[in-house]
């Protein structure tokens, strides 16, 4: 889809295709300048800072028991919440794209709320809901389940954070799924479960992995909606971003940057794994 226009003379630069459209230098120059200033420079500072006390200094911060516990909690709670969202997000996306019922449009619009609702608002709302006197917290207390101020609270907060990512990744795939395939399967005598397992699940699998990855990445870095409900006890319910905040408050820039770099590296490895899974899956389906 390259819009090539007839041009006279040699191309303007060897690294780009000639075009009759104006404004490349200005737009591209501004894009590079803005990205350089707003994204590359700050990230360079993040990458450079942790090594102030050498490689050993970096590992000392990252492998400190309190840092490790926080990293473990952030990434495990994010993975658990993303997994729960894959199941319940699939249910939600399925109902929203397959059935028509009164209130469907409102329910569909509500899915996006975690994108738009400020995290601090979600945070205090969850703390009020799941606190000892909250609507849900009180009921759960009778069952002996404590959510607020425990690691379980982190998981609960991340459920809302990840939901829209999973639902919005699945919905277009479910809506584009050719009804003819399912009809053909019915004609050939397939039952509902066979249709789901043999036709729908393979098509959905890449989107499920993509949704999981998005929800996981977002959940691992989440701060605002977690800190009010988590109780923030070191070694127990303290998340990794909070460790960064605490170190910054003590003017330990190198330590804060070390935890930040660790978070970015773990996220990138997780992303590479999910990308690899998607590619492997696509290859198998094609065969």
């Amino acid at each position: 889809m390259v819009a090539l226009a007839p041009t006279a003379g040699p191309p303007s630069a060897p690294w780009r295709e000639p075009s009759a459209l104006p404004g490349f230098s200005l737009a591209f120059g501004f894009t590079l300048f803005y990205l350089g200033l707003m994204v590359v420079l700050p990230l360079a500072a993040l990458a450079a800072k942790p090594w102030e006390h050498g490689v050993a200094g970096f590992f000392e911060v990252v492998t400190a028991p309190r840092t490790l516990a926080a990293l473990r909690l952030s990434f495990l709670a994010a993975a658990a919440a993303a997994a729960a969202n894959v199941a319940l997000g699939l249910l939600t996306a399925w109902v929203l794209s397959r059935y028509d019922f009164p209130g469907r449009r409102i329910a569909d619009a509500l899915v996006d709320l975690p994108f738009a609702l400020p995290t601090a608002v979600a945070g205090i709302a969850l703390a009020a809901l799941y606190g000892p006197n909250g609507w849900i917290g009180e009921a759960l207390a009778h069952l002996g389940v404590k959510v607020a101020y425990t690691p379980l609270g982190v998981f609960v907060a991340l459920l809302a954070v990840g939901l829209p990512f999973v639902v919005r990744t699945l919905q277009p795939v479910l809506e584009d799924l050719d009804a003819a395939w399912e009809e053909a399967a019915v004609t050939l005598g397939a039952g509902r479960w066979t249709i789901f397992a043999r036709i729908i699940a393979p098509v959905l699998a890449p989107a499920l992995i993509a949704g999981f990855a998005l929800a996981f990445a977002r959940g691992a870095g989440e701060y605002g909606s977690v800190i009010f409900i988590a109780g923030n006890m070191p070694m127990v319910s303290e998340i990794a971003p909070l460790v960064i905040v605490t170190k910054l408050e003590g003017y330990d820039y190198a330590g804060a940057a070390a935890v930040g770099v660790a978070m970015v590296v773990i996220s990138m490895v997780a992303l590479a794994v999910t990308n690899g899974a998607q590619i492997a899956l696509a290859r198998r389906t094609r065969r």
Binding site: M1, V2, R16, S19, L21, G23, F24, A27, F30, Y34, L35, M38, V39, L41, P42, A45, L46, L91, T92, V95, S97, Y99, D100, R105, A107, A109, L110, V111, L113, F115, A116, L117, P118, T119, A120, V121, A122, I124, A125, W135, L163, L174, E175, D176, L177, D178, A179, A217, A220, G221, Y223, G224, F228, A240, P241, V245, L248, Y253, A257, G260
Partner: protein, 278 residues
């Protein structure tokens, strides 16, 4: 058109159960937190709810939030247009890399998006001593809040524009240029009208994120009441003072903003779809 699945009315116990399950899940995870914000805000009556907004710190926080968004949103919108024009209209080496770079901030923790500016401009940061000597304050002041907000929302407009502009193709713009239109005239008369819904959508999302940003600005604000606290930070401060009505009243304002954003977004999508259908 793709022969997509058709939505059927609920019939039989299976679909009813599925729909009930999905709606219960949405009500629990999204509906209940939203409802509790408004319920807590008016828990002691309408009077105390309204009084919360008479607090000068709350008013200062509202003004600061509007100011930060008024600076960050237009800058990111201009960037989104420039990036989309470069990427969707020209073929050059490194295009894919540029796209990855634009998306990168989305996978950062908001706290890291604040931290990086402290590393650059904080009192012990790269440029800290020079800034101190020159008497310029970035961290714990308005510029820092703006920078943190920009980093968190950089990709949002660009991501709305790029796929749409690639899909639309350059034919109309090439025609305008061939007919002798200048670059700015083409932008004003062809490009902007063609992408206006996507642009507005991106601006809406950027604005909602900018006004509600917490993690990044929390690191950069210094938490000086009435001076460097945006509305979400004010919510936290008042909540930690056990002034729950004040906290939830301010939070209800932000929740209202989120609801208005979603309604506007749905209306935009419907208008855009009606335009493409006709």
């Amino acid at each position: 058109m793709i022969a997509g699945a058709v939505r059927r009315p609920l019939s039989g116990p299976g679909p009813w159960l599925l729909a009930a399950g999905a709606l219960a899940w949405l009500a629990l995870v999204i509906g209940a937190p939203l409802a509790v914000v408004f319920a807590q805000a008016v828990a002691k009556g309408v009077g105390p709810f309204l009084d919360a907004f008479k607090d000068p710190d709350c008013q200062a926080a509202i003004r600061l939030t509007l100011l930060v968004a008024a600076i960050a949103v237009p800058l990111n919108a201009a960037f989104g247009l420039a990036a989309a024009w470069s990427i969707a209209r020209f073929e050059f080496r490194g295009r894919a890399f540029l796209l990855t770079l634009i998306d990168l901030p989305l996978s950062l923790s908001p706290v890291i998006s604040g931290l990086v500016w402290v590393l650059l401009f904080g009192s012990r940061g790269w440029f800290g001593p020079e800034l101190d000597a020159a008497g310029i304050k970035i961290v714990f002041a308005l510029p820092g809040l703006v920078l943190g907000t920009i980093l968190v929302t950089v990709p949002l407009v660009a991501r709305q524009l790029i796929p749409l502009m690639i899909e639309q193709g350059a034919d109309e713009e090439l025609a305008a240029v061939t007919l002798g239109s200048g670059g700015w005239t083409m932008l004003r008369k062809v490009t902007l009208p063609n992408v206006r819904y996507a642009l507005l959508h991106g601006v809406l999302l950027t604005n909602a994120r900018a006004m509600g940003e917490f993690g990044a600005v929390s690191v950069l604000s210094g938490h000086i009441r009435g001076l460097t606290e945006t509305l979400p930070l004010h919510v936290e401060a008042v909540y930690n003072d056990y002034d729950f009505v004040g906290a939830f009243a301010a939070a209800s304002l932000l929740a209202g903003l989120a609801i208005v954003t979603l309604i506007a977004k749905a209306a935009l999508e419907r208008t855009a779809m009606a335009r493409t259908a006709s």
